[in-house]
Amino acid sequence: MAREAYVTGVGQSEVGVRLPRHPLLLTVDAVKEALDDAGLTLDQIDGVFSFPGKSAGYLAFSPVGTDDLIEVLNIKSKWQMGAMEQPAQLSAIAMAAWAVKEGICRHVICFRTVYEAGGMANPAEYMPLQQKTTSGFSQWTAPFWATSAACWTAQYAARHVHKYGLTREQLAQIAINGSKNALLNPRARAITKEELTLDKYMSARMISTPLCLYDCDRFSDASTVIIVSAGDALDEVKATPIRIAATAGSVDRYSWDQVDWPASYDCGPDLWKNTDYTVKDVDTVQFYDGFAFLPITWLEGLGFVEKGEGGKFIEGGTRIARDGELPLNTAGGQLGAGRLHGFGFAHEAVTQLRGAAGERQIPGDPKVAVATSGGGPLAAALLLARD
């Protein structure tokens, strides 16, 4: 009998800007909350997965490794995995699902910790243009002053504008929707303090056309934990388990100037290959919004609308609102609730499917959700279901 994989616990640290708490401690906070949520103890954990693991040259981006948690939490791990060379953030959760289905692990901690707001205190880390020489990937960006993913994503967005007529008014709805939902999310209070208006959006300064300030997610300090458990270990768990019904990933060339469209368009169809669910069954979507343009690529890539129709779908914001036909980024997304780097979407999908989202809970007893991560050449997606 094939094993299934479930999310059995979710946890999150405080989310803030320049938090005084060490990122390792934020991670432990999130682990404790997730364990408590699941009703598990540390001695039941036998795997630790993350994306991208610790990044030595870039500690604000990824300050905590799987080995750090195994050490300080005294975990008897059967398998650990933290690596950049995967198809985007949520692939860590997908791989945990495979590990429990394979019988290698029973309960896996998956985490993503970011300390980018705190890291801004050390701007040298964010200023590669101040370096005299460059090599590797950055030799194809830094000499052109194009070091930011904002510039790269803007190039895809510009094509959408010119090929399909995407407007700034349409794009604004992603950020406005995010701000509305963030105001109902207690953990987003340090990030969003008031609702974004269309006027404010339209008059915001440009970062890289067509993306303005509000199209870019907000640096934060936080840790998010997702516990993945084997289907034959659910009797050890107290929380409502959420099944990982399907996983998908896609990797294109790690060369933004040589990639035609974001990898979400390749990843999308694969999510539906191994499941009977279809887009019609989905009650809420949590789409990676490192930039406001990216959810449009997921709407189109996953087949919720035809390619090129994403702008029209979000127009006016009613369809993607909490009470709309496809509630989007109900915790605020990264634009409204902080750059949790992908894991926030899985956390919120599980929370909504459990009916535990409080004031921002969507109506209608949601049973199926999609969470995605990535932009550009990397993409990963999860289909989550309450049985």
């Binding site: 200023m127 243009l129 460059t134 030799q139 000499p143 002053w145 803007a154 440009m206 040589q258």
Partner: protein, 120 residues
């Protein structure tokens, strides 16, 4: 105020011809001697047929701007903005991304190019 110097690529066997060709007025793109296809960014073998018989080839250096962005954010202190970052599908180099539907964008890009963007 002037922008800080551009970071200079460290030269190696893969990238030397591309980054130094400009001194002779050449845009060198790595081409396969067996299948004729191009590999960019350059590698020491062909990404299409894995032949090691690759060498830099001077290409026309013209093409269609298939997308572009006007960057307004200074990513380093003193970096002068705005400036344009444009992506060019090179003529005669298959694997680029030309599309007639981008012609309007391409024309606009060319015009801006003629105006002399400072950094691209």
């Amino acid at each position: 105020m002037s922008s800080p110097p551009r970071p200079v690529p460290k030269l190696d066997a893969e990238n030397r011809a591309f980054w130094t060709g400009g001194a002779e007025g050449k845009l060198n793109i790595t081409q396969c001697g067996d299948c004729g296809k191009f590999t960019h960014p350059p590698r020491i073998l062909c990404r299409h047929c894995q032949s090691e018989n690759v060498a830099p080839a001077a290409v026309a250096g013209t093409g269609v701007i298939d997308t572009m962005t006007v960057n307004h954010q200074a990513w380093a202190p003193g970096l002068e903005v705005p400036f344009i970052i444009a992506r060019v599908a090179l003529d005669g180099v298959p694997g680029g991304l030309p599309d007639d539907q981008y012609r309007r964008l391409a024309d606009r890009g060319r015009e801006l190019w003629r105006q002399g963007p400072r950094h691209v």
